[in-house]
Point group: C2
Chain length 573, copies 2
Amino acid sequence: MTSILNQHEDYQQAQEAYGFPLIIKQLLNRAKIASTDQTISYANKVTYTYAEFFKRVNRLANVLKNMGLQAGDVVAVMDWDSHRYLEAYFAVPMSGMILQTVNVRLAEDKVLYTINHAKPKALLLNAEFEPMAKNYRHEAPSIEKIVWLDDTGFDDAKYAGDDIKNDTKTEQVSMPDYVEGEYEAMLAAASDAFDFPDFDENTIATTFYTSGTTGDPKGVFFTHRQIVLQTLASTLASALNAEGQGARYNDVYMPMTPLFHVHAWCWPYGATMIGLKQVYPGRYLAPTLVDLIEQHKVTLSHGVPAILQMLLKEMAARGRKFEGLKLLLGGSKLNEGLAKAAIESGIEFMSGFGMSESCPVLSRAVFDDKTDSMEMKEQLNYRCLSGSPIMLVSMEIWDENGKALPMDGESTGELVIRAPWLTQSYFKNPDAGNELWRGGWMHTQDIACITSDGTLSITDRLKDVIKSGGEWVSSLEVETILSFHPSVADVAVIGVPHERWGECPLALVVLKPEYTDTKADDILALGHQAVEKGHLPKYGVPSEIKFLAEMPRTSVGKLDKKRMRIMCAEKLI
Amino acid sequence: MTSILNQHEDYQQAQEAYGFPLIIKQLLNRAKIASTDQTISYANKVTYTYAEFFKRVNRLANVLKNMGLQAGDVVAVMDWDSHRYLEAYFAVPMSGMILQTVNVRLAEDKVLYTINHAKPKALLLNAEFEPMAKNYRHEAPSIEKIVWLDDTGFDDAKYAGDDIKNDTKTEQVSMPDYVEGEYEAMLAAASDAFDFPDFDENTIATTFYTSGTTGDPKGVFFTHRQIVLQTLASTLASALNAEGQGARYNDVYMPMTPLFHVHAWCWPYGATMIGLKQVYPGRYLAPTLVDLIEQHKVTLSHGVPAILQMLLKEMAARGRKFEGLKLLLGGSKLNEGLAKAAIESGIEFMSGFGMSESCPVLSRAVFDDKTDSMEMKEQLNYRCLSGSPIMLVSMEIWDENGKALPMDGESTGELVIRAPWLTQSYFKNPDAGNELWRGGWMHTQDIACITSDGTLSITDRLKDVIKSGGEWVSSLEVETILSFHPSVADVAVIGVPHERWGECPLALVVLKPEYTDTKADDILALGHQAVEKGHLPKYGVPSEIKFLAEMPRTSVGKLDKKRMRIMCAEKLI
């Protein structure tokens, strides 16, 4: 017998009448009432209030509508991080359209592949990428409407750093005749009133492509509901951290993960939902980023370790330190050397884990009384792990047969997840989608263990795993050990074929400029010490070190181990 | 033309296969991995770990199942705040059943009314309320199974405060033969494994009754989805507050809004989701509450102003202060005198607004740089307002014609809301439900204005309810009771300010000419009789009676309570 409460007809009708879909426009509800005077800046070019932002979102929706676009159409954006991008984050999906955030740092043919694959009907195009778009136009494109974005209309005189101005300013490209018009002019001409409708929260809001390491980029996609839930849970996990280490109402936010990269981890949605003061930095150049952090007193940001490294180097060159900048880290694992340098430079960083397929945040470092009382060595170790699952996230560690292993800090296997914000497949690639979701859990292809207090330790990528003499070697562990050598600026460890052991680890190292005469054995000595202390098995010591001038990285700054393995195989290094 | 992304069949299939309903069991995901060693205490009687808690939730689900209960059945709880209640918060709705949180502080006939109306099939009954249940059993009850809850099995010797022990201990009532068994014994006998299924997130999870202003209590009900979303948004709004004033991972949580009162504002769900150390205080007695706060180093709680007043008085009597206890306030408006006393006593309080119909939290005070720099006078004023809307909440101020008024801190009208967690109607009372949702927005029946920075100021009740100690007193009901006295020609009951309870009822009476020598106590005796009979709560008896020659009425002959309140305030009567 089911309860009368569940059969209550009026309730069913009311549900339809008063239902409240989790759609992106609802993320604006609080800010529309509480943050109308708060400001949003595009570098030092433009600053306006949230009140103005809301009007501009309406104007952009009218521009899209006036161009004949309809719900379901894909609208692509090729831009650096700007106020325009933030406006598109809201206006496009709130119009029922799908926002394609094009990764402009991929190789040109990959960029064009992602556009040809998603088939956007309109493109918001930064002048800087016009050559790419021009090439695309020869291939029977889906794009019918192009809106021209450039920075020439802004008053650069307001901007303090002269050399930076030259850096950020692109060579003047005049507006081609095939575009609909210039963004600012089109917004100015459009009405600032728009009535965004309610619709099904399972409508797709965004799509973008994983840079992938093999084959063509794969498209992932997220619904309104997924983005709203990720935004709530991810901001909450960050806000609960102890004093000095959490997101707060008085933060000044600036992204340092590009807006084309997994929605900048949904923080532009989160910052707007909370009503924070926001700064969008344009293209990521170390001097610009540090200038903006200092001038706007930025307190909250996020990025990959490579960005952190860039910031530290720039600040060191200025002979100054950060003043407790809170930096959410992810993308790849931090090594303890970098962690120590960050702490010494006044950055409070919070590691986490996520991926393109997961919207992205799945775990975040927790700071509480326990972490507060940790000594430096223990703290460094903790801070280089990947935090614990954020609200609503389920995690398991599976062995090769899909059996869940205990969370004991020792058992290691593939991390699989369930959460309300995971891509449900790959776009037009159901086989890869089914593979991703084998057994009803999303496969991260990361090898991990979880401690009994829930801290996630990623030990390797499934495909980067080194298997030596039948045993796994954690490349991340070896990288961490070698990173402590004073001469090492950057280090990567990969597996290379070995006659006897199947595979053995090999290290690629970039030396700091002042240490170019360092010998391989000096660095490997750290590996041998680690073996003596029982921190590393004998077969974990690299067979060889190769020195490089620059570390091969993917477009999003991750170590490109696939390319490294090819370079080694083809004896290019 | 809709985009191919929206037509993507694999996506639709995947949605079904990999969907993730927002159901209460998902609130446990994080704690199950990250907080297994954290503890939950019932006063100083029981302390166990989350690992044990999860097992006990499974055991309780098995107890319910073994009693023959099924999804859709209503399970009522009559208990003070205990670990058992927390277990029921999860096990009952996670089993697909509906948790009825019975307000045991209502008059007995109202309690029985709410049970007869919701028709629970099972009741978890604290021994203390056995007399009430016994009476109910004479009325052809829906309840088939009763589980007996008492505190006699716990080792009270562990508890430090002797006098408090006597306070909290109820007179021993032996277990009646009509019950199924004793809670702890039944849990011990049940399996600690239970596989909670996924189901539709719009399934009703909880129901309870508003004490109402007129007539019978009205039932509200909330779905799993609504509770999950309220929990996320409400904890987030609290966590974002500035240093010293926000919810944190290192908080120790104890409720001081009863678990039968709007799910204790969903904080038992929130605290468990986050994985906080938790303390459940049993019945609210000032010495017990302060003892527990001091002994367990409680840092985070919530309550109505009357509870705050109780705490301050008790702590003052001990000659000590609180150490920055963070107290979320709501229920009725704080006055500045109490606010000042709270600050001086070391309590960081955060005002907010909500109601039974809204799950409940809709707004919460924001603390940021602006509030940090306020002087005391300004700060007191700010802290007595009701904060700003939390995430996802839409608010408007409507005039009598349903027109939205500007948010300028001056325009005053009825506060109407939209949010994802509002009751969709009143249970078996669709007319009242439709009235609640007039024009597609939920009507709070509160008169308010909102400043341009989004701070909500509740200025009045739309109707003339009286709120005493956080509970509503129905003036109509009190009027009806007093009107039975032979001397009374006309009677009106209004709320007047009361130092301890916020408000208390005061009666205005016009005597019949032949009874002009009637004394106030003669008439109040009817009130006391009604209390004894369980028709009126104690706080419903007017503090005072004022005699008038003529009753103030509006032009259409209705009682003019506004004018009455002014006359009282200005001491004209």
